[in-house]
Amino acid sequence: MTQTETKTESEEWTPKIIAFLCNWCSYAGADLAGVSRIQYPPNIRIVRVPCSGRVSPFFIIKSLMDGWDGVVISGCHPGDCHYISGNLVARRRFGIIRDVLEFFGIEPGRVNFMWASAAEGERFAVLIRKATKIIKELGPIKKF
């Protein structure tokens, strides 16, 4: 199905980004962006996970294979984790995955890790804008 996605010439290409947000901080931060009506690009689709520690590297690879142009993973700031240390586990894990992606020939910039707290609606929007910009510059993902 994904292969059939075409863009009309006149339309500017915008990346499709999937975001895994932890329920307690980043998802709440994304909600706050909404409550505060802070606008950001609409290319992002959010998947709620209990904790950034839940995000398996497979989710990321699967997403990129499936045609998402970029992935965002966001959790609580270090020390703020609702599950005490889940985000630290995630941090350790994602330190490696960028190298792995590069090895596969995928631009590491497609996968963005970030921290956003429940009070940082503004920051969430800024980070999404930033990620969108980076991924947009990288262009559409290569199909596997």
Binding site: A28, A33, Q39, P42, R45, R54, G67, E122, A125
Partner: protein, 1004 residues
């Protein structure tokens, strides 16, 4: 009089919320009464919290949501107490629920009224820094999220009535007066911050760039008026040099401010300085302080980090004036240094660390509830039990009785709850009603029949997203058998519709596309459960907070996104299965480890609630370190208190005391522990089951190696001096006594403050001065940390002629012996070197933990220790007596150095937390937990390491050998194990990989 199984909690800040949750969980009916329009109090205003820099909103909002939704908590906002009658066990409180002019049951908190209100007024939550409307909510994450009309500003134009799609606005809504019958009352009204009066020397109110610390807190806050940018109000520039002036309105004997120390300002000032620098690296904070009172757990480390990592500069000085430079609006501070120089420095902004005052209505509340206030108009409490007011059955917690920080407030809240438990334990569960639910429909294995409900949310979604189109689209998705749209899916009538549709279409999965699951998922889950569906057969698509609201200018893209989100939800829903919540039976018995004041208090509290309690003490006799303390600074007779306590413990039939005991093993988990120990001279073995554990193992006094201790018998410890004062006459002929503070504290080996030594030194000094006024006493200190009302005694000591000399950490006093004369050399902050002859040198030795012992027990209980080997609680701010491991609690010195009263509070708090478990026959665990596919597991143990809750262990499986096993009762479902599992052997129910893949792949 009949006792009532209900409790009123007055004030819904963090303290009130915690007390309500504890008691609500323990089976009491709670009436939580709040005077403002939303709960959360001051904590919800904060940006970050010390000493962890935790985001305040992140940690408090789940708690507030829980409070707002708890089925045993009846929350009333905008209330006023009118009258109180009755006595402990049975009070009647007359409460006025003031009209919000908006029906709180109907208001969905969408905010359209506020946006359209043409009358601008000041926003109190942002401390006057932003304007809000006559119809407003206190802050975006408010609980309950209900708007209110401020009639003082409202001109009655009626716009809000028109724009409110939910029809919640009711201008003729009247105040409601109700009589509430409760067994006990907890007062948690918090504090009001000190506002510098007109003509204050700091220029507050006159100069725009002089703000109070609470205002600065809002400036720092990401959800504050400046969106977390640190700007100065005069011109929106980022200030470079920011001065923080401490003790504004505190430790002030001039009569303008308050004489006591507000306890928290040193820390929050450091925090604000650190966060300001963190937000804007160009900011260079300078803090003007007298003493730095970082007496709490890990506080000193924070101050050090502030100085070293964040370049926060400390100047020890009370400033003499602040003047504005009119052209730049900069502020010139004139101050005197410790060595007597008068200096001037310009700052772009000045933050006043204002003190904590008793709440404005303290006298009113005291009068209504018939309790006494102390000399400062804070609630007067029992010297041994800091949550007990002068009236039985009425308890106070938090800053209402003395300025205090969040963890102490939370501790006291639980402590007050612990006392209520003790008072009303036999009335648990008498006033709460359990919902009767229909049996669950069996749906496993059946093809999904999905119903999708799409919410217009008035115009909040419908105004930007083409809801009919999304509804049509949803109807075309696989397995979707019905899709419908509603004006407000969360309204009561829609719940009925959902239930009807479930029946009509035989739905076995339900999706609501509306706002955020964080606030609304439980509501819809409840609805489908009432219709007979398992509550996990529900999915939510967030098309408001994360779609329509953030793409208001791109309606087409927003519609497309909403469709995608609905499709992703459908894809997940097709893969979800009913989940069961595991139920654990509870053994209603408690184990308390440690027989000091803390342990005994806890044990007695448990026992008086008819819980069988095992009290384990390693020494031959009960009493712990208190056996060496004679009085408290405030004058309480410790020995008498202790004697009484020991007698009560010994005579209580519910308490089994084991002395000279050594725990060999604690096995099991929440509700089902089994402990084996040996005790007594003969090492008898004992074994028993229990549901909870309270760790109250205490700490030890540091045995100094410095200052000739142990080499010269004129060098003694403060505790030894205290014994001398109280049991002998040896002081009589001492002309000069020198005390050295911070011996074995705040140094490299023990980088923390032992909290009690300053009070101890002043206590002893005052006792000596009382008996022998001519005795010269010199106290060598680094900072005098007589926080709170203890400040009074410091002042008294100075008045009585006790000499206080400050020394620096890098210039420690030296003690030498010349002949028989002890000589103490000290270099003061003024760089003068002084020699003092001492007839007696008392060392204020710190409190240290017993590393080996603690490590051993921590291992058994699967709980962590901190760097200083004190036990590490689950959360520094909000779970001060809990461990991450459920069913295990900590209290007293085992947690960190603290006073006797604080130990007692923690003991009661631990009991209260434990009662949330013990009061039930069984507890229900979350259904969304980890699950092991043993066939794939290779037993590497990675997951065991990653689990913060010690819920995983490696076991021997008959077929597969060494594999991981999950204790679902302990698992919180975070998924850290699963994400790291190299064999993909772990999955998280409710968030299975299959479900998430379905969301990923269902993009088009």
């Amino acid at each position: 009089m009949e006792k009532i199984g209900a409790v009123m909690v007055v004030g819904a800040g963090i303290g009130g919320s915690q007390a309500s949750l504890d008691l609500g969980d323990a089976g009491f009916k709670i009436y939580l009464i709040e005077s403002s329009t939303s709960i959360g109090g001051v904590m919800a205003q904060l940006d970050k919290t010390f000493p962890t820099n935790d985001c305040a909103m992140c940690i408090v909002s789940p708690k507030l949501v829980e409070t707002g939704r708890h089925q045993n908590i009846d929350l009333s906002i905008n209330c006023e107490i009118l009258d109180v009658s009755g006595e402990a066990g049975n009070f009647t409180v007359k409460v006025k629920k003031k009209s919000l002019y908006i029906d709180p049951d109907v208001c969905t908190g969408c905010g359209v009224c506020g946006q359209n209100c043409p009358v601008e007024a000041i926003d109190l939550f942002n401390e006057g820094l932003a304007k809000y409307k006559a119809t407003s909510v206190k802050y975006p994450q408010a609980v309950p999220l209900v708007y209110a009309i401020n009639k003082d500003y409202c001109i009655g134009c009626g716009i809000c009535l028109g724009v409110c799609k939910a029809k919640a606005v009711q201008y003729d809504r009247e105040d409601e007066i109700v009589d509430i019958n409760v067994g006990a009352v907890i007062l948690a009204p918090g504090f009001d911050e000190y506002v510098p009066p007109e003509g204050n020397l700091y220029g507050y109110g006159k100069y725009k760039n002089v703000v109070t610390s609470i205002e600065f807190e809002r400036i720092l806050s990401a959800s504050g008026p400046y969106a977390g940018k640190v700007l100065r109000p005069s011109d929106g520039d980022i200030p470079i040099d920011v001065a923080f002036i401490q003790c504004v309105g505190s430790r002030d004997y001039s009569g303008v401010g308050k004489p006591y120390c507000s306890s928290v300002c040193c820390m929050y000032t450091a925090k604000e300085a650190v966060i300001a620098h963190e937000h804007m690296h160009q900011i260079e904070p300078t803090i003007f302080s007298m003493d730095i009172r970082a007496y709490g757990k890990d506080f000193d480390k924070y101050i050090i980090r502030a100085q070293e990592e964040y370049h926060v500069k400390y100047i020890r000085s009370r400033i003499s004036s602040v003047t504005e430079i009119p052209e730049t609006k900069d502020l010139r501070i004139r101050y005197e240094t410790e060595d007597g120089k008068i200096l001037e420095k310009d700052f772009q902004m000045v933050v006043l660390s204002v003190g904590l005052n008793p709440p404005d209505d303290a006298k009113y509340l005291a009068d209504k509830f018939g309790i006494d206030l102390n000399e400062y108009d804070f609630a007067k409490t029992d010297i041994w039990n800091p949550v007990q007011t002068s009236k039985p059955g009425i308890y106070a917690c938090g800053a209402f009785s003395q300025p205090k920080d969040i963890p102490e407030t939370v501790t006291q809240a639980s402590a007050a709850a612990g006392c209520v438990n003790q008072l009303l334990y036999d009335k648990r569960g008498t006033l709460i009603t359990e919902k009767s639910l229909p049996p669950e429909i069996f749906v496993a294995g059946q093809p999904p029949r999905i119903g999708v409900f799409i919410c217009h949310c008035g115009i909040n979604i419908g105004g930007f997203v083409d809801v009919p189109e999304v509804t049509r689209y949803a109807g075309t998705l696989p397995n979707v058998v019905m899709s419908d749209r509603n004006l407000y899916t969360c309204s009561a009538d829609t719940q009925t519709i959902i239930k009807e549709k479930i029946k009509e279409y035989n739905l076995n999965r339900v999706i609501v596309a509306s706002c955020t699951p964080r606030t609304h998922e439980p509501l819809f889950q409840e609805t489908i459960r009432e219709a007979g569906l398992n509550r996990y057969l529900f999915q939510m698509a967030n098309i408001r907070d994360q779609c329509s609201w953030v793409h208001m200018n791109e309606p087409e893209a927003a519609t497309q996104k909403a469709k995608d989100l609905v499709r992703m939800a459908v894809n997940k829903a097709r893969n979800i299965e009913p989940l069961n919540r595991i139920k654990l039976s509870i053994t209603p018995k408690a184990l308390v480890i440690g027989g000091g004041i803390t342990g005994m208090t806890a044990a007695l509290n448990f026992a008086s609630q008819d819980f069988e309690t095992y009290l384990v003490e390693k020494e031959a006799q009960l009493g712990g370190f208190a056996r060496h303390i004679y009085h408290t600074l405030e004058g309480g007779d410790v020995q008498e208190f202790l004697k009484d306590l020991i007698n009560k413990v010994k005579s209580n039939k519910n308490i089994h005391v084991y002395t000279e005991a050594e725990i060999e093993d604690v096995a099991g988990y929440l509700g089902n522990f089994k402990t084996t120990l040996v005790h007594g001279k003969n090492k008898e073995k004992a074994e028993f089951d229990h549901g909870v554990v309270v760790v109250a193992t205490g700490a030890q006094e540091y045995k100094p190696k410095e200052y000739l201790y142990g080499q010269n018998d004129k060098v003694i410890l403060q505790s030894e001096l205290e014994k001398m004062i109280n049991t002998s006459d040896d002081i009589k002929n001492k002309k000069s006594i020198v005390m050295i503070q911070c011996v074995g504290s705040r140094n490299e080996e023990h980088p923390y403050c032992s909290k009690m030594c300053c009070a101890e030194a002043i206590k002893n000094a005052l006792r000596i001065k009382e008996k022998y006024p001519s005795c010269e006493i010199t106290i060598l200190f680094r900072d005098i940390r007589t926080y709170g009302f203890k400040e009074k005694f410091y002042r008294e000591a100075r008045k009585k002629g006790v000499l206080f000399l400050r020394y620096d950490e890098d210039n420690l006093p030296e003690v030498s012996q010349e002949d028989s004369q002890l000589k103490v050399k000290v270099t003061t902050a003024r760089k003068d070197t002084i020699y003092v002859n001492a007839d007696l040198l008392a060392l204020s030795a710190g409190i240290i933990s017993d590393r080996e012992e603690n490590e051993e027990l921590a291992m058994m209980l699967k709980v962590p220790l901190n760097d200083d080997n004190f036990y590490l609680e689950a959360h520094v701010k909000l779970r001060p007596v809990d461990f991450a491991t459920e069913g295990v609690f900590v209290a007293g010195l085992a947690h960190c150095p603290k006073t006797i009263e604080d130990c007692i509070s923690q003991a009661n708090a631990a009991v209260s937390r434990a009662c949330t478990i013990l009061s039930k026959d069984e507890v229900e665990a979350e259904g969304k937990v980890a699950m092991i596919n043993v066939a794939r597991c290779i037993g590497c143990g990675m997951c065991v390491e990653n689990c913060a809750y010690s819920a995983i262990e490696i076991v021997e499986d008959r077929r597969f050998g060494r594999v991981a096993s999950i204790n679902q009762a302990l698992c919180k479902g975070c998924g850290a194990c699963s994400g790291n599992c190299r064999c993909s052997a772990i999955d998280i129910l409710g968030f299975t990989s299959e479900q998430i893949y379905a969301m990923i792949t269902g993009r088009l």
